[in-house]
């Protein structure tokens, strides 16, 4: 998982680039507390999509069920968020 930082809400989770299950919309998702940001600008307040499905904020898809997935380097290049990436977790 490529991450853009540490979650400012729970202060523990890594913020990964997540693609939704429907139209591969990219969001920033905390892998600890499920807080969501719509872009790597994480200074604003997070969204908390409904548990446990985490519906996509853009479409009818969701962020949990396959084919929702963590973005690959190619996906991140496409999204234009490459500069926000801090590293990759195992």
């Amino acid at each position: 998982m490529f991450y853009v930082g540490t979650c400012p809400f729970c202060e523990q989770g890594n913020l990964g680039v997540r693609l939704c299950s429907n139209s591969e919309d990219a969001v920033i998702l905390c892998d600890e507390c499920d807080a969501v940001w719509l872009s790597p600008e994480i200074t604003g307040k997070p969204l908390f999509p409904e548990e446990p499905d985490l519906p996509c904020p853009y479409c009818a898809g969701n962020l949990t069920e396959s084919p929702a997935r963590w973005a690959s380097m190619g996906d991140i290049l496409k999204s234009g968020w490459i500069t926000a990436i801090k590293g990759e977790t195992d």
Binding site: Y3, C10, Q12, E32, F48, E51, P52
Partner: protein, 268 residues
């Protein structure tokens, strides 16, 4: 001529008086013996042994819960004592006491054993602490609510969600260190024992509900983040950052909740 007859008569008298004394002694002996047998009938002697067995195995009726289970050797020695002590009931008690003091710690008094007959139909006295424990589940205990949702003793709910597909699995990710994980990764003490970890989370939640100086609360919509100082070491900080710092001790728990639904919990 008369002298030998006189001597014979005297020796006869002596032997008959001896015989009488012996008979009297034997009669007294048997009378005493029968009296002692009446005091402890054979079936009751068996009960004493049973009594001691039941005390040593359950230990509940005498409050001797700390007693270790008595091994077969002890039972044999007790039955030997009873078999060999038909002569006096006092000896039976004294010997059994001696065997108890030799065999185990001094936690059971013989008086207590006497007060709890093995054949009593009366139910054992209700242990108030036990009944309380039954009525109030222990912290960390879960009960199923259906739909894969489990509720803890403190009222926290663990249901489907997270990358691990269930919150309980997600929480258990904090049972061990992930040294390669970027940033911090709080790890609970308790050697990966789920019940211990959930009990700790329950304890933190109850403390959070009480509030006070040791509780910080942050709210964002439905989400509530409690940071609770537990006042003791409850884990350590792992992950890349924690490992660089030598895995510092953690005495606080952070709870991220959605209402009463647990999203995550970890030490920090």
């Amino acid at each position: 001529m008369n002298q030998p007859d006189h001597k014979q008569h005297k020796s006869k008298m002596r032997s008959s008086s001896w015989t009488i004394w012996i008979v009297v002694f034997l009669v007294m002996y048997f009378v005493l013996q029968s009296q002692q047998d009446k005091k402890i009938p054979p079936n009751q002697q068996g009960e004493v042994v049973q009594n001691e067995k039941s005390v040593s195995s359950s230990g509940e009726s005498t409050g001797a819960r700390a007693l270790p289970p008595v091994n077969a050797g002890d039972h044999h020695s007790q039955s030997k004592i009873v078999k060999g002590s038909h002569q006096t009931g006092l000896k039976l008690q004294a010997d059994s006491n001696a065997s108890q003091t030799n065999a185990r710690p001094i936690t059971t008094s013989p008086a207590k054993i006497k007060l709890t007959p093995a054949n009593s139909n009366r139910p054992p006295p209700a242990d108030s602490s036990k009944s309380n424990a039954k009525s109030q589940p222990e912290l960390g205990q879960l009960r199923e609510l259906g739909g894969k949702v489990w509720e803890s003793a403190a009222g926290l709910k663990y249901g489907p969600g997270s990358q691990e597909k269930h919150r309980l699995l997600h929480i258990m990710r904090h049972a061990q260190d992930q040294p390669n994980r970027p940033g911090k990764h709080g790890v609970f003490l308790g050697e990966g024992d789920r019940k211990k970890i959930l009990a700790l989370i329950d304890e933190a939640y109850l403390k959070a509900l009480k509030g006070g100086r040791q509780v910080e609360k942050k709210k964002e919509g439905n989400r509530v983040v409690y940071t609770v100082e537990m006042g003791r070491r409850i884990g350590f900080v792992g992950g890349q950052v924690g490992n660089k710092r030598g895995k510092p001790s953690a005495s606080r728990i952070r709870l991220v909740l959605d209402g009463t639904n647990v999203i995550t919990a970890f030490p920090l």
